[in-house]
């Protein structure tokens, strides 16, 4: 409601960058770290999550006037669990290899705080159209973040991208990047980059402000 003045394009854009769920809000970290050991896994997981997010946003927002306030969380979780079950069976039918690689983490999309968070914070208060845009933005932003992480880990850890070898045979794989600890390190590095960019922007804005201030004083 607070964002009523914003257009739906804004709702879409904000999820991609300014409020990127993984890099800025640090939500839904478990799948981000767990399945991002190859670019392919990361992308598949990102798309599956995005699908569940969009669908649950649609349903939650269209049912928002019927759901009693006291049991809303339980209702949202049941809606999300339904779509996750759908995704689970679809992936199993489409690619068994992918299903085995992702393992229990497909089912664990249910407990991704990002999805419940969007249902509670956005879809339960906004119209269906805006919720779809929000879901799209957040979903794609999340998939993008997962892909960034997965690509870095695969390139450094296995010397390949989407299974295609990138380097000469002499390249020594950084095995640690494929291991669990590599996930933490890569995400930390991305967060550092985001923090640094943010701080640089703030510093620039501050400098511009003070420059403008001295200028106006001189004019006076």
């Amino acid at each position: 409601m607070a964002a009523a003045s914003k257009s739906s394009t804004d709702e879409f854009i904000k999820g991609l960058w300014k409020e990127n769920p993984a890099f800025v809000q640090v939500l839904g970290m478990c799948p981000v770290l767990a399945v991002s050991n190859t670019a392919m896994n990361a992308l598949a997981m990102g798309l599956a999550t995005a699908f569940v997010l969009i669908m649950s946003n649609i349903v939650v927002s269209s049912l928002r006037s019927f759901i009693p306030k006291q049991v809303r969380i339980a209702t949202y979780i049941l809606i999300i669990a339904t779509f996750v079950t759908v995704v689970d069976y679809v992936i199993q039918a489409v690619s068994l290899d992918l299903y085995k690689a992702l393992g229990a983490f497909i089912s664990l999309i249910v407990v991704n705080c990002l999805i419940l968070g969007r249902a509670e914070a956005f879809a339960s208060k906004n119209t269906v159209g805006r919720s779809i845009m929000d879901g799209l933005g957040m979903g794609i932003g999340f998939a993008f973040a997962l892909f960034c992480l997965g690509a870095v880990r695969e390139i450094l850890g296995a010397g390949s991208l989407f299974g295609a070898q990138l380097f000469h045979d002499a390249f020594q794989d950084w095995v640690v990047m494929i291991l669990p600890s590599g996930g933490f390190f890569t995400l930390a590095a991305w967060l550092l980059l985001f923090n640094w960019l943010k701080q640089r922007k703030e510093r620039k804005a501050r400098n511009a402000d003070s420059a403008a201030l001295t200028l106006s004083k001189e004019v006076l």
């Binding site: 640090v26 767990a34 969380i73 049941l78 669990a81 079950t85 664990l108 407990v111 291991l179």
Partner: protein, 193 residues
């Protein structure tokens, strides 16, 4: 798989395949509640308890679902049971210790969306553990979660006093520590066999 000894299951769940540091389950409370040592210990206790109860429930549900031949209901019924268990624990803690209730704050309801608990329920059914094995598995996972949380909180309390560059403050630093802890825990590999 189902013939593992209880000791092996415990060591595996708590150290070798630590839920937080090797499976990345329950990262949200891990990063969120690990700023203070005391809160971390209590959170660990609460999670272990919920794990134990939901593990027992999940075992029962699995038997029931197999009996009525409806495996596609697994996810929905697991999450429903976990959510209601968390609700019970929340009411219990609120009654017994309001101070603890305030300290845990938002993270108590968030145990519902703690992947470690749902993960535990799913893993134990995948592995086909017996009833006793399930209980030991839940205890091990809870102990591992608490251990990781407490270690992390101890490190972060020390870091409060350290001078670090501005960019690394907050989550980025926490993640780097988690990475180092995860490397350390790899040292336990091979212990449980």
């Amino acid at each position: 798989m189902a013939s593992e000894s209880l000791w092996t299951i415990f060591i595996n769940a708590s150290l070798v395949n630590n839920f937080v540091l090797a499976y990345f389950l329950g990262i949200c409370p891990f990063l969120g509640v690990s700023a203070k040592l005391e809160t971390a210990t209590r959170m660990g206790g609460a999670v272990t308890f919920v794990m134990l109860v939901s593990s027992i429930c999940a075992f029962g549900i699995q038997l029931l679902l197999v009996a009525i031949d409806a495996p596609y209901l697994k996810l929905i019924s697991f999450i429903a049971v976990i959510a209601s268990t968390v609700q019970l624990v929340e009411m219990f803690i609120k009654k017994v210790s309001p101070a603890l209730f305030r300290a845990l704050g938002i993270f108590l309801p968030l145990i519902t969306t703690n992947c470690a608990i749902l993960g535990l329920a799913l893993f134990q059914t995948n592995k086909g553990y017996s009833f006793v094995q399930c209980i030991v598995y839940a205890l091990g996972a809870g102990a591992g979660f608490t251990l990781a949380l407490v270690l992390m909180a101890g490190l972060r309390e020390k870091l409060e006093l350290a001078e670090v560059p501005d960019v690394t403050k907050g989550t980025a630093m926490a993640l780097m520590i988690a990475g180092l802890l995860s490397v350390t825990f790899m040292g336990f590999g091979g212990l449980g066999g």
